[in-house]
Symmetry: C2
Subunit: 203 residues, 2 copies
DNA sequence: GTCTATATTAGGATAGAC
DNA sequence: GTCTATCCTAATATAGAC
């Protein structure tokens, strides 16, 4: 029996409130993990943000690992603007729009960058998530570049798979530099420059 | 009075041995921090690697912060092949050679990637180091691209400063993906492809 | 210079009252 | 569902013997 099914019978009952509380906690945890990472952030930190006791959080998330996984899911569903596979309007608009959106949401880039690198360690609870994510991103953008190639918009010598991995890498790396020194780096502008070098100009 | 000055009077005395021990510890700490990050790695972990007690390490490095700073210095002076400002032989050879060297040294890329992202937090002991490092890298590579521009090797529309930041970003991002899924990403090949897109071919 | 013993703090997690 | 009290573990760091 899912939460949704119960919700149909009791729309404004205790379950709705519980789901709200859950989301409040996850939002707070996102802040904390963005600032100090998964290892550096504590239940107590999250509890301080939401104004609850540390042990009360354990009622919603029995382990810290559960909390992190909820944060990662929250990032994908609530925080990020991603519209699934980046193919509809073309990879260029999609990427540029998302990159501009990202810099406007405080903590969003930080959360992603911090957790991704922490997850390099195979025993990190976020490892599988990020391995899959990078794989999906590369596959999706490779598809996008192939679509452009079929329109003759790819410059000669450009490999769609290499370009896909490079686009993801460039984006991540730019965001890291931006976090270290905002004002020194313009993420969307640099991504636009990359597309200019890889694609033929639209007439 | 510096260690070197003392070393001249007592070349194989206790100071030489102490320096050796110090380097052994720093090397071990590099491993530990590479695997679990600065926050996730402990004095005990390092002590286990070198085969000493945890408290003995404190004789060489009074605080964990001191140990990290020693690791960062060690990385620059011993581990990495960097030949200062990348101008002599040209930015292309320099970057490609270094990127190939990096993937051959176990833990080197991991150490760098993990610590860089952890250092986003301004109160992280490595923060200042990485802010300076990114700034220096951008400045150095911008210089390298400008040198190429003066030879007419830069494609029209390519901004040396944007290209410099992008090169650093691309490199870092590729290394991150490589750590997550080695075999899926070829770092030197992708960097070479980037140069191909930004520079005019050599005759 | 290296050790044991220990202080101190903090983190994740459990038990159980209300 | 929220709390207090508590356990257990681990981490940084200190004191002091040898």
């Amino acid at each position: 029996m899912t939460t949704e099914e119960l919700g149909q019978r009791r729309p404004r009952g205790p379950y709705a409130k519980s789901a709200e509380r859950r989301e409040t906690i996850v939002a707070a945890a996102s802040q904390v993990f963005a600032s100090h990472g998964y290892r550096g952030g504590s239940f107590q930190d999250v509890a301080n943000v939401v104004g609850m006791s540390q042990t009360s959080l354990l009622h919603y998330f029995p382990t810290k690992r559960d909390l992190l996984l909820a944060v990662l899911e929250y990032r994908d569903t609530k925080l990020v603007n991603e519209s699934g596979v980046p193919l509809d309007e073309g990879i260029v608009c999609e990427v540029l729009a998302q990159s501009e959106y990202n810099v406007g949401v405080p903590g969003l880039i930080e959360l992603y960058t911090v957790l991704a690198s922490e997850s390099i360690s195979p025993d990190h609870p976020g490892h599988a998530y990020f391995v899959a994510r990078f794989g999906n991103l590369r596959a999706g953008y490779a598809e996008g570049f192939r679509a452009l190639a079929s329109e003759g918009r790819l410059r000669p010598g450009v490999d769609p798979d290499v370009a896909a991995a490079s686009l993801v890498a460039l984006w991540d790396g730019l965001q890291l530099q931006w976090l270290m020194a905002p004002g020194e780096v313009d993420v969307p502008a640099a991504l636009r420059a990359y597309f200019d070098q890889v694609l033929t100009p639209t007439p």
